[in-house]
């Protein structure tokens, strides 16, 4: 998975701005994580429209997703996944994340301990049981499971 320093900074900034609430947004890019590696080319911060506690839940509004899909088509990209933050929690997918994940999407999770963006993890759902696997970030080894 490739993510430029500038995009990573923008993602981190968004996650810090939303602290103590969860930030979320769409990842545009190319690749499918299988035949060709993912490459993030653009990201779009989304409003968090979860009906519950925004400190530990997020929901990307479907209308936002529709616009993101339109933009992806217009710019010859795909919506390759989504990112969100874990305020004061590690950058690991929660059981709730797993239950709501889709095969084939890239998921980036940014830990935000005490309002400062920390570890950024990359994951995708694999296998029959739907297990999150680490995705290598910029050629560096992912965190051990």
């Amino acid at each position: 998975m490739r993510l430029s320093g500038a995009l990573e900074s923008a993602l981190r900034r968004h996650c810090e701005e939303q602290y103590p609430n969860e930030a979320c947004g769409a990842l545009f890019g190319t690749g499918d994580g299988a035949m060709s590696p993912w490459s993030v080319t653009e990201l779009a911060p989304a409003p968090n429209e979860h009906g519950g506690d925004h400190k530990r839940r997020y929901l990307v509004p479907p209308d936002f997703q529709l616009e993101a899909e339109k933009r992806a088509r217009a710019t010859s990209q795909d919506v390759i996944g989504y990112y969100h933050s874990h305020p004061d929690h590690p950058a690991r997918p929660s059981e709730y994340d797993r239950a709501h994940a889709w095969f084939g999407y890239l998921y980036l999770i940014c830990a935000v301990p005490n309002g400062r963006a920390g570890v950024l993890g990359a994951f995708s759902l694999e296998g029959q049981g739907g297990v999150f696997l680490d995705v290598e970030v910029r050629g560096e080894p992912g965190q051990a499971k």
Binding site: Y19, P20, E22, C24, D32, H50, K55, R56, R57, Y58, L59, V60, P62, D63, Q65, L66, E69, R73, D78, V79, I80, G81, Y82, H84, H86, P87, D88, H89, R92, P93, S94, E95, Y96, D97, H100, A101, W102, F103, G104, Y105, Y107, N114, G115
Partner: protein, 477 residues
């Protein structure tokens, strides 16, 4: 009708990697059924056992969510060239606080209450509460919040434990005297509940650090005894949209309220301006019955827990006053002030301000017309007494304080009697005023200045400074 269905990335694997699929149908339901025929796996992703589109899948016909168009898919007709977009719901979030076996046992008296339950206890574990002040109110507050399982408790204080604290600050033991309060508090609270996180903030809360500090917490509980901090906590909470569970105590009376500007008044709606300096004595000046902060701080803990659990009626828009001597509660409605400087319609305060100046608590405040209050140090007074100089020393404390400790030769003129006893004094003479520390001697100074006394000075630090620095055999209180 031929329509195209746009396939999002995760579902393309079921249609041979295609970004869109062309189908022929009359309705949205027909189009989706045609798509489902392409792949049984895709059918499973999109439809439930009864053949309904799953709740976490949104379908858009053009720019309209099909759910908004009609209650069922077969009622939505499609026409030639329509575009259907499949939008999979994207949700998730940080892990929920889970309870261990031991925690379930520990909180069992909570868990069996329908107002708390396992869900509520998890909320408590996930909650972050900042307690300002680890003193009389902060003691029962933090002890009960820790015992109740509030997951993260922040404590702000920069004092050390003093022997005069122990009479009411039950967070500390006699052996803690001299230790930093936060060090002793963390030790005690961790012993009480090792499953929670105690975060000490050993700092002086100020306009430049309050916003950053509060950011990391859900609820702020103000248990301070001074006006600059009280206004600062209020303003920062309003600006950040956080509830401020407020309590204060004095002698035999306590006050509690919840200031949550999102749905009610703030502290400034109730008190737009602080009282003039010196008019509001602190516990150190006025005293407090030891058990009172225990009661009022427990009320404060109760309101914090209710806010976290979202149960009951919080004290929003109500100020409860408790008179311990008469054992009476009074409830005062507090209305949101549309003209409030911080939470009103056109706020003038948009960032924390310099509260020390706002509240005029810079210590010795000169009377109107005076540039400074003339003071004398205890060392100077002592030296000149030793040299044989004579002073007219007026002790303006109350008689029961005079019984605890006094400076030799001081005449008793309690502040409360001073206005009616001024005629006993000679305005042409020089008087040196003192109280316990400074507050009342300053009030006496201003009163006498207005009455025409021109030659006055205040003993800086009062009898307490005398006992601390001149005669160490004297008791301090």
């Amino acid at each position: 009708m031929p329509v195209s269905i746009l396939i999002p990335t995760p579902l393309r694997r079921y249609v041979g990697g295609a970004k869109s699929v062309q189908v022929t149908a009359q309705t949205v339901e027909g189009a989706m059924a045609a798509l489902a025929r392409e792949s049984p796996d895709l059918r499973q992703q999109l439809f439930d056992g009864a053949g309904k589109v799953r709740g976490f899948v949104n379908l858009y016909l053009g720019d309209s969510n099909v759910r908004d168009l009609a209650p069922t898919l077969d009622a939505v007709a499609v026409k030639d060239g329509d575009v259907l977009t499949i939008v999979p719901a994207i949700a998730g979030g940080a892990p929920e606080a889970a309870l261990s076996r031991d925690e379930i046992l520990r909180y069992s008296r909570h868990l069996i209450m329908p107002e708390v339950t396992l869900e509520g206890q998890k909320r408590l574990k996930g909650a972050k509460v900042l307690c300002i002040g680890a003193g009389g109110l902060g003691s029962p507050l933090t002890l009960y919040l820790a015992a109740a399982g509030v997951g993260r408790l922040g404590l702000v204080d920069f004092d050390t434990v003093d022997l005069t604290n122990i009479q009411r600050q039950i967070l500390y033991s006699t052996s803690d005297v001299g230790r930093p309060k936060l060090e002793a508090a963390k030790e005690r609270l961790t012993q009480l509940n090792p499953d929670i996180e105690i975060v000490p903030h050993g700092l002086h809360l100020a306009s430049w650090n309050a916003m950053d500090l509060f950011q990391g917490y859900d609820i702020v509980a103000d248990g301070t005894d001074n006006f600059p901090t009280r206004y600062l906590v209020n303003d920062a909470c309003v600006l950040l949209g956080k509830p401020n569970v407020y309590a204060s105590i004095f002698r035999f009376e306590g006050q509690v309220s919840v200031f949550d500007a999102k749905r009610g008044p703030c502290y400034r709606c109730l008190f737009p301006e602080p009282p003039p300096a010196g008019l509001a004595p602190s516990c150190a000046e006025g005293g407090v019955l030891g058990v009172l902060p225990g009661i009022v701080g427990s009320f404060q803990a109760l309101e914090v827990l209710k806010l976290i659990l979202g149960t009951g009626e919080p004290l929003v828009g109500r100020l409860v006053m408790f008179d311990a001597l008469d054992f009476k509660f009074r409830e005062l409605p507090v209305r949101k002030n549309p003209g409030c400087a911080v939470c009103g319609r056109a706020p003038t305060i948009t960032a924390p301000v310099d509260y020390e100046a706002f509240c005029q608590v810079r210590g010795l405040e000169p009377a109107a017309g005076d540039k400074t209050v003339p003071t004398i140090t205890v060392e100077d007074l002592h030296g000149r007494l030793q040299a044989g100089e004579s002073f007219n020393l007026l002790d303006v404390r109350e008689p029961h304080e005079y019984q605890i400790v006094r400076i030799p030769g001081a005449a008793q003129f309690p502040l409360s009697q001073l206005p009616v006893r001024l005629h006993e004094l000679d305005s042409a003479r020089t008087y040196t005023l003192h109280c316990h520390r400074d507050t009342r001697s300053l009030q006496a100074y201003q009163l006498m200045r207005r009455a025409g006394f021109g030659r006055l000075q205040v003993l800086a630090g009062g009898v307490d400074a005398w006992a601390e620095r001149i005669d160490r055999s004297l008791p301090r209180y």
